[in-house]
């Protein structure tokens, strides 16, 4: 038995023994475990599942063990992922800390910052939000105006963020602020961290077309931020921001994957039924679903391949834009098909039968996928400029 096979056998045994029955099978978007100071859990078993996975560092399998991560190689992490898929294990933790901030801290953070924040992130004890977009800085993110005034050992921050995911539930924020108003727009930005309980921070949820409020407006009114919480170099926060965006884009691109739930074909079969040959009794819809599944399978492999290229140092940093663009557009397609499959049943907005209109609300939520984290059009611009070197792009 090779070492990798040995690892697979051990992992399988450990997961069998430690993944509670309640934590297997589909998990609704609303039931995700986000952790943090005020963590809520669907069941006590979900709390246990997070504690067990966190203790092994398997909520961040490829992070170094010295910062609480799993310390696994990419090949070992792939084995872990496939074993988790095999038992349909629910993600123990959903976390902007794991997906976005952590990789940026590993690349740009000081030793103290890594030691302080990364283990908490792995164990799901701290919940982060991202302070990037502003009312006047959406696709043109580098136009941010939130101002940080130098006060010696700290800054005083004033300004407003928007589309801050779960700002009302987050413990800390990683935030882009303007530290040099006179520099060219990309060169006067810094990347800072602060506690959302700091005096002067207020949040206001924004109600979306789905009827839900995953995003907030976030206001900073004379907020004190310690200089020790600067990540990377002063005025070079754009480098950190871009690096982190690449991870965010990969994450949003991957949403079609993790948020997929039941296969569309099965949902459609339940709703519509089969013909005598066992085929979905709606040939046109069946063909569209098959095409989606082909693209979805190809996209999964494309994501895996990019991961392999990153590991082999063959990846272009802008490739994340491709994954973000394709994955978010595909997720929208998937939900259009889920609506078509559900027919009139999918139109219900309230009531127990429809889980308060889950199908329709999820469908509407996906429309933001190709806007948040940089629109599809911005991603295409990035691909044209950085990957294809087209003129004037």
């Amino acid at each position: 038995m090779t070492e990798l096979e040995q690892f697979r056998a051990e992992t399988r045994a450990w997961l069998e023994a430690n993944c509670p029955a309640e934590c297997r099978g589909p998990l609704g978007d609303d039931e995700m475990i986000w952790g943090g100071r005020d963590a809520t859990f669907k069941t006590p078993a979900h709390k246990l599942w997070l504690e067990r996975m966190g203790a092994r560092g398997w909520t961040a399998p490829e992070w170094p063990a010295e910062y609480g991560g799993g310390g696994l190689s990419r090949e070992h992490a792939k084995v872990l992922a496939s074993e988790l898929r095999r038992i349909k294990a629910q993600p123990a933790l959903a976390s902007f800390g794991v997906w976005m901030l952590g990789p940026a801290l590993l690349a740009f953070g000081t030793e103290e910052q890594k030691k302080r924040f990364l283990p908490e992130i792995v164990r799901g004890e701290i919940r982060w939000c991202q302070g990037y977009s502003e009312p006047g800085a959406g696709s043109d993110l580098a136009a941010i105006q939130t101002k940080a005034e130098d006060k010696g050992d700290h800054w005083i921050v004033n300004g407003q963020k928007i589309w801050t995911s779960y700002a009302d539930k987050a413990d800390w924020i990683f935030c882009l602020v303007r530290t040099d108003p006179d520099a060219p727009k990309h060169l006067g930005i810094s990347f800072v961290l602060f506690d959302m309980k700091t005096p002067g921070v207020t949040t206001r949820p924004i109600t979306l077309i789905s009827g839900k409020s995953p995003f907030c407006e976030t206001f900073f009114d004379d907020v004190r931020v310690e200089k020790a919480n600067l990540v990377g170099t002063l005025n070079r926060g754009w480098d950190v921001a871009k690096y982190l965006l690449a991870h965010e884009r990969t994450m949003i691109g991957a949403m079609g994957e993790v948020g997929g739930g039941r296969p569309v074909g099965q949902v459609a079969l339940d709703a519509i039924g089969a013909d005598e040959a066992g085929r979905l009794d709606e040939p046109m819809l069946r063909a569209r679903i098959a095409d989606l599944e082909i693209d979805a399978a190809a996209f999964r492999l494309a994501m895996e391949r990019v991961g392999d290229q990153v590991k082999a140092k063959q990846a272009h940093p802008a490739i994340a834009s491709m994954l973000k663009y394709y994955g978010s557009e595909m997720n929208k397609r998937r939900h259009e098909l889920l609506m078509a499959a559900g027919g009139a049943d999918a139109l219900e907005w309230e009531g127990e039968r429809s889980h308060d209109g889950k199908t329709a609300r999820d469908w509407l939520r996906t429309k933001a996928n190709s806007i948040e984290g940089g629109t599809s059009e911005v991603q295409l611009n990035i691909i044209a400029k950085h990957l294809l070197q087209l003129p004037g792009a």
Binding site: A268, D308, I319, L390
Partner: protein
């Protein structure tokens, strides 16, 4: 396994690209076409291809080949897709060789060293009607004396007009059966079909063709598994050729976008074209990933290898189709000329798409495999 080429595989790719760019660039195909070459394919080139080892890529080393797998077979297929070289590679070195490797008797396997050397060309006769439908074979194999009598009509037999031997898929009472048939046998009529892409195929009619029992490859009625294995590998290789052809058409188009001026600007500055190019780039990344993914599934002997090959063939086919259509459109009038190459890619992709099942055929398989 990682979904990227190993160092050895990259060297193979460089060797194949180097050989084809030097010996058989697109001009080679144009010459065969324009001179109305009797065979439409160069035997000399094929022997040189054999000397390089490419023709025996999947054939065991003991039988004169390189003994490599589906990923390597795909590497060479992709290179052939880039240069549009007419070659018996897919029909002889992949489909026929795979059948003989897996099911051939010792006598039948004597063909393998000759295939590897580029001395012999074999062809697989599976299709019959306008569409690929290997589960609905109507060619009959009826017992007669010590052997069989074959009757039926085959179409889209790759390089069948120059084949030294044919592998015929027929239905016997016991089920699908594969036969190794000498095209000189009485009752075999081979007609070369001139195709849109100047590559080569044939129609083969079989009228009371008498073959001995030892013409059977593998077991009587046991042809389905043998055929499936060859078709899966063939589809994964066709996906590579599609990706290669699509990617080459894309590269040509990018060059054009960077040099062609209109309205006082390089046309690549126009966002209408940039976004389409960026979308196509994304699609090509998916095609590459799904293709090598299928080849690894085959090499690892995974259960889902057949489904993976279908997904790869469908996806690479759709992507290549988009690539060549965008190539012609973005080139404008010059894209419509015979002198310029992009139209040749469009023709080749149309043929590769139809070969071994088009995207619709494979989407149907995917739907069935997923139970809807």
């Amino acid at each position: 396994m990682p979904l990227i080429l190993t160092e050895e595989q990259t060297m193979l790719q460089d060797a194949a690209d180097g050989f084809l760019n030097e010996r058989a660039p697109i001009a080679h195909m144009r010459k065969l076409r324009n001179e109305r070459d009797a065979d439409g394919v160069s035997r000399d080139l094929w022997r040189a291809f054999g000397e390089m080892g490419f023709a025996g890529v999947i054939i065991p080393e003991a039988l004169g080949g390189m003994g490599l797998g589906a990923v390597e077979a795909g590497v060479i297929a992709e290179s052939l897709g880039r240069t549009l070289t007419p070659s018996p590679y897919l029909g002889s070195s992949i489909l026929s060789a795979k059948v003989l490797i897996e099911g051939g008797s010792q006598t039948q396997q004597a063909w393998l060293p000759r295939i590897a050397a580029g001395d012999a060309i074999l062809a697989l006769a599976v299709d019959e009607g306008a569409k690929h439908a290997p589960s609905r074979i109507t060619t009959r194999a009826d017992r007669a004396g010590n052997g069989f009598k074959l009757n039926g009509a085959k179409a889209f037999v790759l390089d069948g007009h120059v084949a030294d031997a044919l592998i015929v898929v027929a239905e016997a009472d016991e089920g699908t059966t594969l036969f190794l048939v000498d095209p000189a046998t009485a009752g075999v009529v081979v007609e070369r079909t001139m195709m849109v892409d100047a590559h080569n195929a044939a129609r083969v009619t079989l009228t009371d063709v008498a073959v001995d029992a030892d013409a059977v490859i593998g077991a009587v009625g046991g042809g389905e598994a043998l055929l499936d294995g060859a078709l899966n590998l063939g589809r994964a290789c066709a996906a590579s050729s599609l990706t290669g052809a699509g990617d080459q058409a894309f590269k040509t188009t990018l060059d054009y976008l960077r040099t062609r001026k209109q309205f006082g600007k390089l046309i690549g500055e126009f966002q209408a074209l940039q976004h389409r190019a960026a979308h196509l780039f994304s699609e090509l990344e998916l095609a590459r990933a799904v293709t090598i993914g299928a080849q690894l599934a085959i090499d690892e002997g995974r259960e889902d290898a057949s489904l993976a090959a279908s997904i790869a063939k469908a996806k690479a086919g759709r992507v290549a189709e988009l690539a060549v259509q965008e190539a012609v459109q973005m080139h404008g009038g010059v894209g419509m000329t015979d002198e310029f190459d992009v139209g040749l890619f469009m023709k080749r992709v149309r043929v590769l798409n139809e070969l071994l099942g088009d995207a619709g055929f494979h989407a149907e398989r995917v739907a069935r495999a997923q139970g809807f």
